[in-house]
Amino acid sequence: MAEEHNIIKILLVEDNPDDIDITKRALKEAKVINKLWIVRDGQEALDFLKHEGDYKDLSSSPKPGLILLDINLPKLNGIDVLGAIKKDSNLKRIPVVMLTVSKRDEDIIKSYDNGCNSFIQKPVNFENFVEVVKEVSLYWGLLNIFSPNGQEE
């Protein structure tokens, strides 16, 4: 039913299995048509995006249209991943939404300084989280107009 360009390709960078469950379910309940890839730490995220390590096969790691990035991650934390993405000329135009339970001033400032497109606190209440996921995906996936070569693969 949905056309190919209406499917939002999302890369979720999240180490907590509960959060993965919850985000998947929230996407489902928000009725967002999506393709979801999940990576479990900061290094894996960069491997995925740069087609390195386990992700040398391009078909296993397509360029996402939206990155949902947690901050507290093993190996490389979310802010470092964000910095690396925004410094990479091939990746810097992919919208990155920091999705975290933290609302530390320090995290917020560092995220914006490193070029995040949005900073959102994960609500505790599940229904509220569904709302957040819905709005974020629709805004970044459908409503927002990207830089012309930003979405090209």
Binding site: D18, R25, V101, D105, V124, N125
Partner: protein, 353 residues
């Protein structure tokens, strides 16, 4: 012959006698003067000894003061460190507590939705209670966070019309005010004050919403008043609500203290703790007076001086401004301090060789 004139001889004799007396008198005077001089000298010596004594006493006091100042500064530093550690701890703990809470809430919801048919009415109710409690715990954690954040974040002190803050608060509480038919009276002309606008709005919001919340009267009346106290602004918020027993006058400002039963009143009981912290950040004070059944009056003060709120002004500057001391006094005190510093140093050097 004239030479043998006995009269002339007598005249000389008299003259010599009077000269002798004069001489004696002068001698006596010199003698007295010398005695006086010696007395004065002694007096001077005593005064010099006194002065030396005072100087030593001053030196001792100065040394004591320096020492107390050092101790105080050290204690202040320890306190600040402990406070910071506590704030950081609260901050980290609250974040770590929130994560499992999200999971509890989400999985409860999944069970409610996915096992709708299998759940009895009771089972569903239990799960709803789990969710209600995660919501409550979330609020508690958020209040903890808010309190720890208050100190971490700096303040923006600007000049604000108090009246504007009240208008903002009335707007935010519009629903409760209409629903309970609350009358809000602004008793005095409210001044322009230096404060952190957002936070002071929070203070009025908390106090006024409490005044509405803890009110069982048919016609709740809230009075907002002001008193100019020289260096301080003093505000009060008076209600005709349920009042507070004297034994709770201090306790209500402690975190998570609620005097009512949990079911009776919404909220976590952190509001007044936040209010007190905000007032403290402004270098002011807050307290309550109340009679159970008749109502409560919350008073708070805030310094008028911007630099005093920011804690940037030294006591000397304030004394100078209020003309309690002159520039000269300060200059002299500083010179004396330096001189004493030199003397101390000299004495120590002397002892060393």
């Amino acid at each position: 012959m004239e030479r043998g004139d006995p009269n002339l001889l007598d005249t000389y004799k008299v003259e010599i006698e009077s000269l002798k007396q004069l001489l004696e008198a002068q001698e006596q005077a010199v003698f007295e003067q010398a005695a006086l001089l010696e007395e004065k000298m002694n007096e001077l010596k005593n005064r010099m000894q006194d002065l030396e004594g005072s100087r030593r006493a001053m030196k001792n006091i100065a040394e004591d003061l320096t020492e107390s100042k050092e101790i105080l500064e050290y204690q202040k530093k320890i306190l600040e460190d402990v406070n910071k550690e506590l704030d950081d701890f609260t901050y980290i703990v609250s974040h770590d507590l929130k994560e499992p809470l999200r999971s509890i809430d989400a999985y409860s919801k999944f069970i409610i939705d996915d096992y709708k048919d299998k759940l009895s009415e009771e089972g569903r109710h239990y799960l709803e209670r789990v969710r209600a409690n995660t919501e409550r715990m979330k609020k508690l954690i958020e209040d903890l966070l808010e309190i720890s954040r208050l100190k971490k974040r700096g303040s923006t002190i600007e000049e604000v019309e108090t009246e504007e803050l009240i208008t903002e608060v009335k707007m935010r509480l519009e629903y409760a005010i209409k629903q309970k038919g609350v009358e809000i009276i602004i008793k005095d002309k409210l001044p322009k004050i230096f404060c952190d606008r957002v936070r002071l709005t929070e203070v009025f919001l908390n106090l006024i919403s409490n005044a509405i919340k803890f009110n069982d009267k048919q016609k709740p009346v809230i009075e907002i008043g002001y008193d100019d106290q020289g260096d301080l602004h003093k505000f009060y918020i008076k209600d005709n609500g349920i009042g507070i027993k004297e034994e709770y006058f201090e306790k209500i400002f402690e975190i998570f203290q609620r005097l009512g039963k949990r079911e009776d009143v919404e909220g976590t009981g952190a509001g007044l703790t936040i209010v007190k912290k905000i007032i403290q950040i402004h270098k002011g004070n807050i307290w309550v007076e109340s009679k159970p059944g008749e109502g409560s009056v919350f008073y708070f003060t805030i310094p008028k001086d911007r630099s005093m709120i920011l804690g940037k002004k030294l006591i000397g500057e304030i004394l100078l401004e209020r003309k309690l001391v002159t520039e000269d006094d300060i200059k002299k005190a500083l010179e004396e301090q330096q001189r004493m510093g030199r003397i101390n140093k000299g004495e120590q050097d002397g002892r060393g060789t």
